[in-house]
C-alpha cells in the first residue's frame, strides 16, 4: 500500500502511452497529429517511472503465480463456460470487446480501478466517487444479466 502513497497510481494512462509510442514507431506523422497521444506519451518514451510500474505488474503476478503454482493457461473461465459454453473463440472475441470498453471507459472518465477507485476515492474526489458508484451499478447489473442470476430463482 506504500505504492498508493508515493504517487497516485494510474494503469490505464499507460495503455495510451504504449499506444502512442508504438504508433509513433510505425506512423510518426499520425501520432504527432494527436494532441492526446503527444501529451500522454511525452517524448515518445517508455522509460518513465509510471510505465515501469505498470510493467512490474505482470512480472510480480507471474512470480506470484509461479511461486503458488497457480499458473494456468485456461482459456474459458468457469462462470463463462457455464453460461456461454466452452467455445474458446467466443470468449476471446468478447474479451477483446470487453477490453475495448474497459479502456475506452477508463480514458473517457480519466482513470480506471487504480486511478479512480483506489487513488481517487482515497483523496475524496467527487469525480472518482461518482465514477466508482456508476461503475459498480453498471458492472453488477451486467454481471447479473450475463451470468444468469435473473430468471433462475
Amino acid at each position: 500500500m506504500a505504492v498508493a502513497l508515493v504517487q497516485p497510481i494510474g494503469v490505464s494512462t499507460q495503455y495510451v502511452v504504449l499506444d502512442g509510442v508504438l504508433l509513433h514507431q510505425v506512423l510518426p506523422d499520425v501520432a504527432d497529429q494527436s494532441a492526446y497521444l503527444s501529451e500522454a506519451a511525452g517524448g515518445w518514451t517508455l522509460a518513465t517511472y509510471e510505465f515501469f510500474f505498470v510493467l512490474g505488474i505482470p512480472i510480480g503476478a507471474f512470480l506470484a503465480a509461479w511461486a503458488t503454482k497457480r499458473f494456468s493457461t485456461r482459456l474459458v473461465p468457469g462462470e463463462w463456460a457455464h453460461r456461454f459454453g466452452p467455445i474458446p473463440g467466443r470468449r476471446l472475441v468478447w474479451s477483446c470487446i470487453g477490453g475495448f470498453l474497459l479502456l475506452f471507459g477508463a480514458r473517457f472518465g480519466g482513470g480506471c480501478t487504480s486511478g479512480h477507485i483506489i487513488s481517487g476515492v482515497s483523496q475524496l474526489a467527487v469525480s472518482s466517487l461518482i465514477f466508482s458508484a456508476v461503475l459498480f451499478v453498471s458492472a453488477i447489473l451486467t454481471a447479473r444479466w450475463l451470468y444468469g442470476d435473473w430468471g433462475k430463482q
Binding site: Y15, D19, I57, A65, T73, G99, G109, G110, S127, I130
Partner: protein, 176 residues
Amino acid sequence: MKLLLGLVLGAVFGAALQLSGASSHTKITNALRLKDMTIMKVILTAIGVGLIGVHLLDALGLAHMKVKDLYLPGMVVAGAIFGVGFAVTGYCPGTALAAAAEGKPDAWATVFGGLLGALVFAFMFPDLETVLMALGQYGPVTIHESFGMPGVMLAVPLGALCLWLAVRLPDPGGAR
C-alpha cells in the same frame, strides 16, 4: 534508479493482485454478483488505508494530491461503459495484465482490446472533449473541500469505517 523503483513497486502490486485473487475472472464476477466478498474486502482495505494515509501525509504537507476533474455527464457515461467491460471480461486494466502474466489467453485478448480502445479514444478525444466534457464541468472538487473542512477529519473516520467493513464482511464460503 527511479525506473527500478517503479518496476519493483509495480511487481509488488502485481503480486498482491494475483495473491488476493483480483486477477481471477471467477472472483471478480462472483464479487459483482455479490456472492464472494473477497474482492470487496481488498478494495475496501486499499481505500481505507489510502484514505487515512493520503490525508495524514497531506496534513503534513507530504502528499502528492492529484484530484481528477469532475465532468458530470461524462463521468456517468464513462463509468457505465467501464462497468460493462468489467463484467464481460472479469478484469480491469491492471488485473488484465496480472492475469495475462498468469497465462490466461482471454486476458491477453482483453489487453489487446484495451490497447485498441485507448487508441480509438485518443483519436476521438478532440470531438468528445467539446461535446461531453464541456457539460457540467466542475473542476477538481473533493468532498471535504466543498464542506470547507480539513480532509483528515473526514478521511480518518471514513477510512476506519472501510477497514472495519473489510474485516466484518463474510469470508468466501461462509455466506453460503
